[in-house]
Symmetry: C2
Subunit: 159 residues, 2 copies
DNA sequence: CTACTTGCAAATCATTTGCAGATGA
DNA sequence: TCATCTGCAAATGATTTGCAAGTAG
């Protein structure tokens, strides 16, 4: 079945799990069953989630006692530290989203249905850089958050 | 000493205390000693503060037992609801700033010294409006937060 | 008067931590 | 092997709440 090809080396982006393994190794930490499961589940679909939702999702995949809440929190912290996910605080609780392999963006937050809508604005980047330059500020990250009512909820409310 | 002038009516902006009184009245609430003290102290100087700092400041002005922590929290909530102050969450705790009579602005947050630096960008306003229009989103408020290292801390760190 | 307020003590609640037993490299 | 992890139970800490006594209008 297989043919005899000449090979050449190409670089392929690491999967989130591989990237996480790399991060852990660099820190002298270990890739455990729990951390592997969490990184896989977190990156199994693109969505915003909080610790509780993730916990519920994980519980559905395994029998009790195989994964505890503290481990979920600890691992979310490590994934954040590794730059794989991004954390934001939304009305009291922490909400996470993908960062690794995903373009930077900002959010419209509907205060009726609580949904987060992503939007991209390269111009906004530029403005932030300008403001930073004026204040001799060294930017690490930035985030714009717009609060209001989404299209769906506007229709629903106007009835 | 006083002369005999003809008078004409002019509109003058309400003081924060007056504005708060107005808000309270509209809600069937009362202007108490505590609420008056708090609104006065909060607007006595332009600065960012949290509940603890405000509490400490207030304690310095009166004898024990005259103002409790729950009352401070309750009143901060009312001032926020009244649109006199604005609340933001900074590494766990709520931080407040003046909104009434103060132009809207955004923040550079130094993660070394924890200082908040304000910056104004009308262009940023426009971009947010544009993004909102594209998503048929009805904007209520928006906020841009830039994290990094301030000029002072950069110098301090580069030694 | 009397409904709204306050201070107190206790409750919340998401997140974190100490620790003894389990486990990955 | 043995340092790192995990689950458990308990701690945290900012903020909130129930309630009886105080007070503004």
């Amino acid at each position: 079945m297989s043919k005899d090809y000449s090979l050449r080396t190409v670089k392929v982006p690491l999967s989130p799990r591989e990237r996480f393994a790399q991060f852990l190794q660099a820190k002298g930490k270990r890739m455990t069953r729990q951390r592997q499961l969490i990184v896989d589940v977190v990156f199994s679909h693109h969505d915003h989630f909080d610790a509780d939702e993730l916990m519920a999702h994980l519980q559905g995949l395994l029998r009790r006692r195989e994964l505890s809440r503290p481990t979920v929190y600890r691992t979310l912290g490590e994934l954040t530290e590794a730059g794989l996910i991004r954390k934001m605080v939304l009305s009291g609780r922490s909400v996470y989203e993908h960062q690794y392999g995903y373009p930077r963006h900002d959010h419209l937050h509907c205060e009726v249905c609580n949904r987060l809508i992503e939007f991209h604005s390269p111009e906004l980047e530029r403005l932030v850089r300008e403001a930073a330059v004026q204040h001799e500020f060294q930017v690490n990250s930035h985030r714009t958050f717009v609060t209001g009512i989404c299209a769906d909820c506007q229709r629903r409310e106007s009835r």
